[in-house]
């Protein structure tokens, strides 16, 4: 009974990394191998956005919390043609960090002296990070170790298998390989992992700012990004969570990594809410950093159609799940959808297992959920790439299932999508768009009373790992806190209704059996 874990806050951060698009995005890395002299690589640099343009971009401002979904909806589409007037890099959930500062943050997050920055560049970045206000003096002082690094010394490291860090097309830093032979510790892998850790750390620091929690009060951290860290003897050994918690100063926390492709965050949030509800821990943080490989993932389509490269930011998020305080929205760990081994892979089977099955079991209708948060990819990015409007497709599927279930009329399908859906705003960084971008706005909307119930849906393409052909997904419901659950004695009106409905269902089944 009751005593659910609550959603105490969420942070969202971006790092604008246009040079990393060129050097580290998988599409571009592949192109350099198969078609090094092709037009795409020649054209690409002309399509990169400035930091100022990335800040003014409406979906980015929605991600860090300076505009809400209604305000985003009011911006004329395509959004890349209609920038906002907002020049503020910080929002209520987080910030958009420029590339030079981000390289400095990568060095702060590097505990093995693998990151080296050119001395003058490092001095500039140090001053900027000090002014940012998010970092301690000791963290900023990490950049002092670059005094002897020159462009020549950095170039020598690159020639020896290191990865260059570029700013405005100039070599300003390197990531060294961490082992001479082990590919799991190559410079490329270390760059991906330190980049993921750094965006996670930035989000953790903002989570502390957003929620006001004392970092010492955090018991456990779960990382749910899509990278793996380890060496040749244990390739996915981990643990990003504890590594990031260390830099963020969560001195009393331990943690672990949870993986599930794009469904990872939903799995991690379920784990976190369950750990809190069980009383194992009081404060659990779910966190993830960004993915350099996905930078410019749809770049070819964007360049071909004359668009800017819109996948130019690494993204991160952190969510704080805590014991019930009677105020914050509750995570209903008893209304959970699961795509099981036996579910099947047709979209109808997937959506039924994640949406209608758990709602049916709880005695709820599709229309009883005010907002659904499936994959919230920004359609500005996906539509020109031929992938359509992903959130809208999900809302259409949920609505169509509602029609099949008789919960809504077919003519009301369009209204359902508007009322129960949202415009997507998340960067296409795999795990980042998957339900979790709504955790922050969801809390705000429940606290101000504009919605009462939401469903977060995470879906993952497991087959990409070639271990199984299966798809995956989990979902759960978040509800406004009725203040009665504290102490475990309160039963909500909805629960009473649900209990009565289930009792009547059992009674009817008994009669039929006779």
């Amino acid at each position: 009974m009751s005593n659910y874990a609550v959603l105490r806050g969420a942070s969202y951060t971006l790092a604008h990394t246009p040079d990393m698009v060129i050097h580290d995005g998988a599409t571009q890395v592949t192109e350099r191998v198969v078609n090094p002299d092709g037009d795409y690589l020649k054209e690409l640099p002309k399509h990169l956005r400035s930091y100022e343009d990335a800040v003014k971009y409406a979906p980015n401002q929605a991600y860090i919390g300076n505009i809400d979904n209604e305000e985003l909806k009011a911006v004329a589409f395509p959004w890349y043609e209609n920038p906002t007037e907002i020049t503020d890099r910080t929002g209520k959930y987080g910030e958009i960090m420029p590339e030079d500062e981000y390289y400095g943050l990568m060095q702060i997050c590097d505990t093995f002296d693998l990151v080296e920055l050119e001395a003058g560049f490092a001095a500039d970045v140090k001053a900027k990070l000090a002014a940012n206000g998010m970092f301690t003096d000791a963290q900023v002082a990490v950049l002092d170790k670059n005094a002897n690094f020159t462009e020549e010394s950095l170039a020598a490291v690159v020639a020896d298998g290191g990865c260059g860090l570029y700013f405005n097309d100039k070599l300003v830093g390197v990531i060294k390989k961490a082992h001479d032979v082990d590919v799991n510790l190559s410079a490329h892998v270390m760059l991906e992992n330190i980049a993921s850790k750094a965006t996670s750390v930035l989000s953790l620091l903002h989570l502390v700012r957003v929620t006001g929690i004392d970092p010492a009060d955090i018991d456990y951290v779960i990382d749910c990004a899509e990278e793996a860290c380890g060496d040749m003897n244990q390739r996915g050994g981990g643990n990003f969570a504890k590594a990031a918690a260390e830099i963020a100063g969560f001195s009393n926390a331990t943690g672990s990594d949870t993986r599930g492709f794009c469904a990872g965050p939903a799995h991690a949030l379920l784990n976190a809410a369950s750990l809190v509800k069980a009383g194992t821990f009081k404060n659990v943080v779910v966190t993830a950093g960004g993915c350099t490989a996905k930078l410019g993932m749809n770049g070819k389509s964007h360049v071909e159609k004359g668009l800017p490269i819109l996948e130019d930011c690494l993204a991160g998020f952190s969510v704080l799940i805590s014991e019930d305080n009677g105020t914050d929205p509750v995570i209903r760990t008893d209304i959970v959808g699961r795509h099981t081994v036996g579910t099947g892979s047709s979209p109808q089977a997937v959506i039924s297992s994640l949406v209608t099955d758990p709602l049916d079991a709880a005695g709820l209708k599709i229309t009883d959920v005010d907002k659904y948060a499936p994959e919230m990819q920004n359609p500005d990015i996906t539509k020109p790439a031929g992938a359509g409007d992903v959130p809208e497709a999900n809302f259409k599927m949920i609505a169509a299932l509602g029609v099949k279930k008789g919960a809504i009329e077919k003519k009301d399908l369009g209204n359902f999508i508007v009322e129960h859906g949202m415009k997507g705003w998340a960067p296409t960084q795999g795990h980042i768009p998957s339900g979790v971008p709504f955790m922050g706005p969801c809390r705000d909307m429940m606290l101000d009373g504009s919605i009462k119930r939401a469903m977060v849906i995470g879906k993952g393409s497991l087959f990409l790992g070639r271990m199984t052909n299966l798809f995956d997904g989990v979902s759960f419901v978040i509800e406004a806190n009725n203040g009665q659950s504290e102490g475990g004695s309160g039963v909500s009106e909805e629960e009473v209704k649900c209990l009565i409905a289930n009792a009547l269902k059992d009674f009817a089944a008994g009669l039929l059996a006779q």
Binding site: P347, A387, L401, L413
Partner: protein
């Protein structure tokens, strides 16, 4: 079309031959369905996969096209596909798929 899928289609083609194969796609949009059909019939238009410059001329249909729907048990179709049929722009998908098949016929 995904590079790995191109490889698998090519392997099936080599194993069974064009007469024994139909490629069935489930793309969410006409354009994506058409691209897949083009890839397995005329060659990979992005020149990225193993079907670049390779014209297999395989017949390709979308799961929501009437020719395929007729072949499937009604109850199974209702349970597995009818929701997506309501969601997708089936007319647009059929137009795109027909256009590619016509191109193949003329080629």
């Amino acid at each position: 079309m995904d590079l790995e899928n191109q490889k698998r289609v090519k392997e099936f083609y080599d194993q069974y031959g064009a007469d024994q194969l139909v490629v069935l796609v489930g793309a969410a949009e006409g354009e994506a369905g058409g691209l897949a059909a083009e890839t397995v019939a005329l060659g990979d238009p992005t020149f990225a996969g193993c079907l670049a410059g390779v014209s297999l001329k395989l017949p390709c249909y979308h799961i929501c096209e009437p020719e395929i729907k007729e072949e499937i048990d009604e109850a199974v179709y209702d349970e597995q596909i009818s929701m997506m049929e309501m969601v997708l722009d089936v007319d647009d998908i059929c137009d795109e798929m027909n256009a590619i098949r016509e191109q193949v016929a003329e080629a």
